[in-house]
């Protein structure tokens, strides 16, 4: 089955009125639903609940559906091998169904195999929204899945609301970061046909996932896999550890992290002095690592370590979303930056606007004085 780009619109015109369909495609980590995927499940449930208040697709004008057609309409789709444990975890949640594509062709992730399962399934069932966690894996294949199915693509959303500028008739409005989080965009999706949404980590709390009501567990059913379609488009040769991870920042109680604002490897000394005074580990955002100012094992963020110390001091870090996802779980966050509009201040508990080359030595002195 192939989907052309016009299929979505034709299907919408001919489609009888029906409840909204929301799918979620969790990503697994060592056979279990990953934390960001639970966040995607929570987002899908919230989305279904919000859609329950809006007229069904193709319906004329805003005519709220009965409240019974709400979160129960989320269906999960699992891909891989050995999925029984993950399917069971999902079956304990408030979902309409869990579709399981378990096949040897899906033993290792490749975009070709994943799209080869999901594209025919989307063409056949025409879900209104398919929700994914925003991960390095989903950015690899979801845009191409949108291209293949003619779906709309809405990456990295941090929230949505049903009361946008154009009201509920136009549907939902979504927020997503632009310019690395310096600005927040409000967007909507026009036209008919499925929309593929990926949700940014930390935006929809995983503990918001609704459990299945007693006695109504979702049905777990196999999703057919056509090996002729689910074909790997890259030959996996192996996986390698990038660094030996000799520094485990995840165990640190206090971290002083430095960003591009420090200006050079030769200017990191005062930051190290502060770390010593606090008994802290040194961390860094990606630009510092890419510039070779600190080793990669010190990198914090989506491509480095995810940390949650009791105190996190960010010096000269603007706060690109890729960094924030790796540290915003810290108990207390202090941001030092010369730009008062830097996104780091939106997650910080304490903020100092100023030149880190002045503030950091002053802070070291104040810490030493306080510790006597």
């Amino acid at each position: 089955m192939t989907a052309n780009e016009n299929e979505g619109e034709e299907a919408a015109a001919a489609r009888p009125r029906r409840p909204w369909r929301v799918w979620v495609v969790p990503q697994l980590r060592e056979g279990r639903v990953s934390r960001v995927s639970w966040e995607a499940v929570a987002a899908a449930q919230r989305l279904a609940a919000a859609l329950g208040q809006i007229a069904e697709p193709g319906g004329p004008g805003p005519a709220p559906l009965p409240a019974t057609l709400d979160s129960a309409r989320v269906e999960a789709v699992l891909l891989g091998t050995g999925l029984a444990g993950a399917a069971q975890e999902l079956a304990e949640r408030d979902l309409a169904a869990v579709h399981v594509a378990d096949h040897a062709a899906l033993a290792a992730y490749t975009p070709g195999a994943w799209i080869g399962v999901l594209a025919p399934a989307i063409a056949a069932a025409s879900p209104d929204f398919v929700v994914f966690p925003h991960t390095y894996q989903t950015v690899d294949f979801v845009p191409r899945l949108a291209q293949r199915t003619g779906a709309g693509l809405l990456p990295e959303v941090t929230g949505f609301s049903a009361s946008g500028a154009d009201g509920a008739a136009a549907g939902l409005v979504w927020s997503r970061p632009v310019l690395g989080g310096k600005l927040q965009a409000t967007v909507r999706v026009r036209g008919a046909g499925p929309v593929l949404v990926s949700v940014q980590s930390g935006s929809f709390p995983a503990d918001g996932v609704a459990p299945a009501a007693a006695g109504i567990a979702p049905e777990v059913k196999p999703l057919p896999v056509d090996p002729g379609q689910a074909r790997p488009d890259r030959e996996i040769l192996g996986y390698e550890q990038v660094t030996a991870q000799q520094v485990d920042l995840t165990k640190a109680g206090v971290i002083v992290a430095v960003g591009r604002g420090v200006g050079g490897a030769d200017k990191i000394g005062p930051v190290e002095d502060l770390a010593r005074a606090l008994g802290a580990e040194i961390g860094a955002s990606r630009p510092v690592i890419d510039s070779g100012w600190l080793p990669r094992e010190r990198q914090i963020g989506s491509s480095g370590q995810t940390v949650a110390p009791r105190l996190y001091i960010a010096a000269g870090i603007s706060g690109a979303i890729q960094h924030l996802v790796g540290m915003k779980g810290s108990s207390v966050i202090v941001a030092i930056n010369k730009d008062p509009s830097a996104p780091i201040f939106t997650v910080a508990h304490y903020g100092l606007v100023g030149d880190l080359h002045e503030v950091v030595p002053a802070l070291t002195a104040a810490v030493k004085a306080a510790k006597g």
């Binding site: 490749t110 975009p111 070709g112 390095y136 950015v139 690899d140 294949f141 845009p143 191409r144 949108a146 291209q147 709309g152 693509l153 946008g164 970061p177 632009v178 310019l179 310096k182 600005l183 927040q184 409000t186 967007v187 909507r188 999706v189 929309v195 488009d233 890259r234 996996i236 040769l237 192996g238 996986y239 390698e240 550890q241 990038v242 660094t243 990606r286 690592i289 370590q305 009791r310 105190l311 108990s331 207390v332 008062p340 509009s341 201040f345 939106t346 997650v347 910080a348 508990h349 304490y350 903020g351 100092l352 002045e358 503030v359 002053a362 802070l363 002195a365 104040a366 004085a369 306080a370």
Partner: protein, 267 residues
Amino acid sequence: MLIAVCIKQVPNAEARLRLSRDGKGLDEEDLPFIVNESDEYALEEGLRLAERSGGEVVAFSLGPERVREALRKALALGAARAVHLADPAFAGGDALATGRALAAALAREPFDLVLTGSQSDDAGFGATGSVIAGHLGWPHVWLVMGVELEPPSGAPVSAKVTREMESGINEVSRVRLPAVLEIQAGINHPRYASLKGIMQAKKKEIAVPSPADLGLDPAQLGVAGSRLEVLSVAFPAAGKGAQMIEGDAKTAAESLVAKLRQEARVL
């Protein structure tokens, strides 16, 4: 070996940013634009692969007149020629519309490899390269941290590609050529343009095809061809939740330490 590199011109996020009057984007007056960071790495990787295998690089970009500056930079760094999708019909599209236009332009020549950056520093979809690959029917890899052509010179038939995954793990895979590789920042050390390169760039060709030249209907392109519509942009509430500590460096530092000890109790 013929290599295409797609680059995007983006606002310099370090500059003072002001919103446009319609609130849907940035005020471009006096706004400095630069080549997107990961695209600079993609260009450098393309130049290195071309030098090693004996080939040439063609730079592509989509956007208004100002984008010529980014293409001139690519030419100064060593690209042989450039293609500029400058028609207003191309502009303002989402990743699907932009990918459709670039794929049509790329399909006019027998490229062995198309490189893009992994993600733009403004819209940040991370999607254009894989959308291009979908249109061309080629394999793609996103977030590439290493490329080895096989065989390394002459006419390579495949590439061994290292892809960054989460948590410090890399995937190593082999893709057949032609392919689209979306390059991650940090893969190499981009070169600087030489004076000679800058002088030579002035004589190099920048082709400016129209939608009709590419066989594309303007309704499929740009704003008209996009399902994603930006309603507004806004600065996040500054210091939302953050307690801002005032004063000169010494006063602020002492005040912060006192708060960390007595209020937050983390020292």
